[in-house]
Symmetry: C2
Subunit: 249 residues, 2 copies
């Protein structure tokens, strides 16, 4: 049953403070919940409607946690999605720790990405281009917020994110560090190393001075028209496409 | 003075119904208002703070419309931006009409893009890559909504958008029509024509059957990892980058 205490608990997880305290986060909508159940994340609680249960009975049979049947009207308004008539899950956060990195593959470094939609879209891009994962500055927006999880379209289950001080992390590393700048070498003609770090800066301020010191190659996306810049997630995708094109040669 | 009637009028323009009726829209924030004033859009009314006036006095001297001095506290909450302590403008919509198109250049065709952030970002991308403009299906979200204008970062002043029935528009045209599909020719190896139309489909449904009939070349962005798809604006940017790279060869 969907008790008042449960509703309160789920809603409290919309705030970073309570997510941190409980080490839990919310996943909403059919596609995202399915990706969650298929992943190595631990799902603590599942709220599903009859429609979801009928469509995904096989997947639900494998689920050992608590599963509550709810009406679509109960689900709507419980989370942050405008409409969600299928499912909502409470899952356990993963420990914030470094992931395996090979020098011949690419890893994204996010220097203070503040917009949840941008972070979610960047995680989806990292998944599409098979990057190894994301190193994020402590000021980068919280991976586990509803808007970020939603914008990843399930890719949060496959892309590891490690929050840490970027100067400390980059200090003493020996692989190439590409930085996206408005002035830099044209990525269309850039002779790229096989792998390394690709640094994407903050939406307004770009890459900070502290991080720029560690950049070994400044690259830029050639501009043909008059826009001053590209959105951070858009720039990430264009750069990843160019780097992957080079590796594939 | 910022009268109650004025506040009500400005706030009413947040709704498409009133924008259509008045043929006016709102532009918010320092950068966007500056781009508006430098453009060929007609600005009807300007609300500026002292800070904005001091920084942009030369630009304001050239402005012949009604200019009202307001306090930052008055500006905040008047529009849709979380914080805006600089300026807000009411401008006149442009007539919905076709723009000049050359067969050797690229024009975007949007088949039902519903998310305002996506449309705004796509307009910014079109500006960056110097596309000729955008043909949008009638169901595509309204160009003049606050969120779209905001996401264009001023590029709405430079990229013409024409809303029209896509099948009617594409019928009988003789240039190449590229369509972004999940299955199609790899854009990295695609021998592209010099120009034509690039069709981007709806965020969930992709390109509709009615429009797909007119697509002469199905293209796709190669996937290296596991994400099912890319965000519509992100895909637009990667395709435009590849098409421009080819033209630049």
């Amino acid at each position: 049953m969907l008790t008042k205490a449960r509703i309160k608990y789920i809603k409290s997880l919309q705030l970073k403070k309570y997510r941190k305290q409980e080490q839990r986060f919310v996943v909403e909508g059919e596609k995202s919940v399915i990706e969650l159940l298929k992943s190595d994340f631990l799902t603590e609680m599942l709220l599903v409607t009859e429609a979801f249960q009928q469509r995904h009975s096989a997947l639900l049979k494998q689920f050992n946690g608590e599963c509550v049947m709810v009406k679509p009207s109960e689900l709507n308004g419980l989370g942050e999605l405008k409409t969600n008539e299928m499912a909502l899950a409470v899952a356990v956060m993963k420990e914030n720790k470094p992931f395996e990195m090979h020098a011949t593959k690419w890893t994204l470094v996010l220097d203070d990405i503040r917009d949840p939609g941008n972070l979610g879209t960047i995680i989806r891009i990292a998944d599409w281009y098979a990057l190894q994962g994301i190193i994020a500055s402590p000021e980068t927006t919280d991976l586990y917020s509803g808007k970020v999880i939603q914008a990843t379209m399930g890719s949060f289950t496959r892309v590891p994110v490690f929050y840490t001080s970027l100067p400390e992390f980059l200090h003493g590393n020996s692989v190439a560090v590409l930085g996206a700048f408005l002035q830099g070498e044209n990525i269309h003609h850039f002779a790229s190393p096989e792998g390394g770090f690709l640094v994407i800066g903050n939406e307004s301020a770009g890459i900070s001075h502290e991080v720029a010191r560690y950049v070994t190659h400044r690259v830029t996306i050639p501009r043909f028209g008059k826009a001053e810049s590209l959105n951070a997630a858009v720039a990430t995708a264009v750069l990843c496409d160019n780097l992957n094109r080079q590796s594939a040669r």
